[in-house]
């Protein structure tokens, strides 16, 4: 009857497919494992050749990441015995902690700017996408194309005008400025992605709510939003990953006050020689929020990828 048939893959095919998946997973995960393990090495182990696969783990990298230290004389160190486990690690290298590093601050900046801009991009994007999806808007297609066109060049191509604009508006090196910038860059992605998701939600749901006695906004809030949760979650992940990882604008526009973690982490290298374990520790900690966020929303992300492929 039908000209094709769907058959269960043979065990041989499954075996080959499994090997390919594992090989791919290993290739992707290797750099990550390397970074994480380097964070627990001593400086010597980190640059050892051939590379150390088995080593005695230490938290030195993490301690160095979070503290600033100075080299001290033997007398001073003997006069001030270490009070805590991290003092002890520093002592063994002939140094003493003089204060916290700026990593915590930079990390917090990343959290504020990353999540703040993601929130704004998703909220504004959802409202705009809803309007584009449901209302008759004059020049709708042109507007949508215009919004998309902001994605047609790398954002950094407009770095100089943005730099000048930020300087004259007093937005340079402020949290508000960076949130605004990342929101602006993410907004086109967010509008387009969400429009696709909202287009897939039948209008009848809202119309039913309108007739059931709800206002347009209540219908949007109580009926459309729960349906769009998948789309909103996956859009939020994409926006957050961009804002979280962004490096070039952060280097250019921030320094003392609103600097995020990406431009800060490489500067750790210069503080006390080539401190690779501290850099690796910084990178590892930096990975955690995005990983947690993605894992939390993973279910939505997966259904987001296949969304629209099958007609329900």
């Amino acid at each position: 009857m039908s000209s094709y048939s769907v058959t269960e893959p043979s065990s041989r095919q499954k075996w080959i497919a499994g090997c390919l998946v594992i090989a791919y997973a290993l290739i992707t995960i290797m750099p990550l494992l390397w970074i994480i393990s380097t964070g627990f090495k001593t400086q010597n182990d980190a640059i050892a050749y051939p590379p150390e696969v088995f080593f005695e783990p230490t938290l030195e990298g993490y301690v160095n990441l979070f503290t600033t230290r100075t080299r001290q004389t033997e007398e001073f160190l003997q006069a001030n015995p270490p009070a805590t486990w991290y003092d002890e690690i520093v002592h063994e290298r002939g140094m003493a902690i003089v204060g916290p590093s700026r990593f915590g601050e930079r990390f917090l900046n990343s959290v504020i700017i990353g999540f703040g801009s993601t929130f704004l991009a998703v909220v504004l994007g959802t409202l705009a996408a809803y309007a584009f999806s449901r209302y008759r808007i004059p020049l709708k297609d042109d507007l949508l194309f215009f919004i998309l066109s902001t994605r047609m060049m790398p954002p950094i191509a407009v770095a100089i005008p943005i730099f000048l604009m930020f300087r004259s508006l007093g937005l340079s090196d402020t949290h508000a400025g960076m949130i605004l910038l990342y929101t602006g860059v993410n907004l086109s992605l967010s509008v387009w992605l969400l429009k696709g998701f909202i287009d897939e939600i039948p209008r009848e749901y809202e119309e039913a709510a309108l007739i059931d006695g709800y206002t347009r906004f209540q219908a949007f809030y109580k009926v459309v939003l729960p349906q769009a949760a998948t789309g909103i979650a996956s859009t939020a992940i994409f926006c957050l990953i961009f804002a979280w990882n962004e490096y070039a604008f952060a280097v250019l526009l921030t320094s003392g006050n609103a600097q995020t973690a990406p431009p800060f982490i490489p500067t750790i290298i210069g503080v006390t020689g080539q401190d690779w374990p501290a850099v690796a520790a910084g990178a590892t900690i930096f990975l955690v929020p995005v990983m947690v966020f993605t894992i939390l929303l993973r279910k939505h992300l997966l259904s987001g990828i296949t969304f629209g492929a099958v007609r329900k």
Binding site: P202, E204, Y205, E207, A208, A209, L210, I211, D212, G213, Y214, T215, Q218, V223, P226, Q227
Partner: protein, 365 residues
């Protein structure tokens, strides 16, 4: 509970006119059908009554009050959608109680009302189930439950049976009509299925290209079509059209076709030009004595009846005759038309020519 009057209603989408200028009246308690092919403007008309689209011009009165520009929530109507539009993130009970919650009704009262509606529809057992796993029929019942729970002035239904399979549709159409007879609320029902319209409706409006072709009871629309479109759209197989040219005076009771005299109801107006002699398949008898001849080209057996296709000098004709009558392909037979049921049409405009048969139902001049 509600009488709905539509006056000169018009809707344009940009340069496209969906509804030209409709006027009709829906009596209180009527089961009213809006019938037509897809794209004819019937759904747009219904959505304007509901308040989901705003009319470009014209008025809509519900119980004497002009509601044309009012939001849907202020019109006291309930809408049943073709795809049911049950809120997918809520269970059956929440779906049905949703319209009551918007009115701020106390919880205990909502529970009571939902239970009452569930009992009417026989869905008590599924009240706490999510709507996702329900069968088409149960979804339809839940959608109806959501509509009747708040006792609206009228029900608006947009092809509510369109998503069900054929067997179940039959069953649900009986259930719907029975529900209507029990509740007695005015119902406006959109469908493209002429059988459904004839079977369920008290009155039918037939629309085409945004224009109302005819408005009347199912019997009038079937027996006395106002236009060739209606004659063709309603009935399966549709009315036969025998084309001829001639000149007829008012009062004429016969036409000349291929040297034969065929009867018809007395005309109320004179006509000169290209005409169409319209006769339903069941009003044709095959008889050897009849002068008007045709050649049998095909027969379809349908159980109690059969459809015989014949080639005549004025075009193809289908006759519905008893299945025990013998009709062989290739045979030449005489056709006997029942003169009292015939409608003449103006071939140019498609409108029916006034006669004793249809004078009472034709609204155009």
């Amino acid at each position: 509970m509600a009488e709905i009057v539509i006056q000169n209603l018009r809707k344009e989408f940009g340069s496209f006119t969906a509804v030209q200028s409709s006027s009709f009246k829906i009596e209180d308690g009527e089961f009213f059908m809006l019938l037509g092919p897809s794209g004819c403007g019937k759904t747009t008309t219904l959505r304007m009554i509901a308040g989901l689209e705003l009319p470009t011009a014209g008025e809509i009165y519900i119980n004497g009050e002009e509601v044309g520009q009012k939001p849907a929530s202020k019109r006291d109507i309930a809408f049943v959608f073709q795809m049911f539009a049950l809120y997918p993130h809520m269970n059956v009970r929440k779906n049905i109680s949703y319209p009551l919650a918007s009115q701020g009704m106390p919880r205990a009262q909502i529970r009571e009302k939902v239970a009452e509606v569930a009992q009417i529809l026989g869905i008590e057992a599924i009240l706490d189930r999510p709507v996702g796993g329900l069968s088409g029929g149960d979804r339809q019942r839940v959608a109806l439950g959501r509509a009747i729970v708040r006792n609206p002035a009228c029900f608006l239904m947009d092809e509510p049976l369109g998503a069900l399979d054929a067997e179940f549709r039959e069953h649900m159409s009986h259930e719907l009509r029975a529900l209507h007879d029990r509740i007695g609320a005015t119902t406006v029902y959109v469908t493209h299925d002429q059988l459904e319209a004839m079977q369920m409706g008290d009155k039918i409006v037939v629309m085409n290209h945004g224009v109302i072709e005819q408005f009347g009871t199912p019997q009038d629309i079937y027996d006395k079509p106002a236009t060739m479109f209606v004659a063709e759209f309603i009935g399966s197989p549709h009315m036969n059209f025998l084309k001829f040219h001639g000149s007829l005076a008012a009062g004429a009771t016969t036409v000349e076709m291929h040297h034969q005299t065929l009867g018809m109801p007395a005309l109320r107006e004179a006509f000169d030009g290209d005409m169409v002699y319209g006769v339903r398949p069941e009003h044709i008898r095959l008889s050897d004595s009849a002068g008007y001849r045709g050649e049998v080209v095909a027969t379809e057996y349908l159980g109690t009846t059969q459809i015989v296709t014949l080639q005549t000098h004025n075009g193809e004709v289908k006759a519905r005759i008893a299945s025990d009558q013998v009709a062989r392909v290739g045979e030449s037979v005489g056709l006997d038309f029942d003169p009292a049921t015939v409608t003449l049409f103006d071939n140019q405009s498609g409108r029916a020519i006034r006669s004793n048969l249809n004078a009472g139902v034709l609204s155009h001049g």
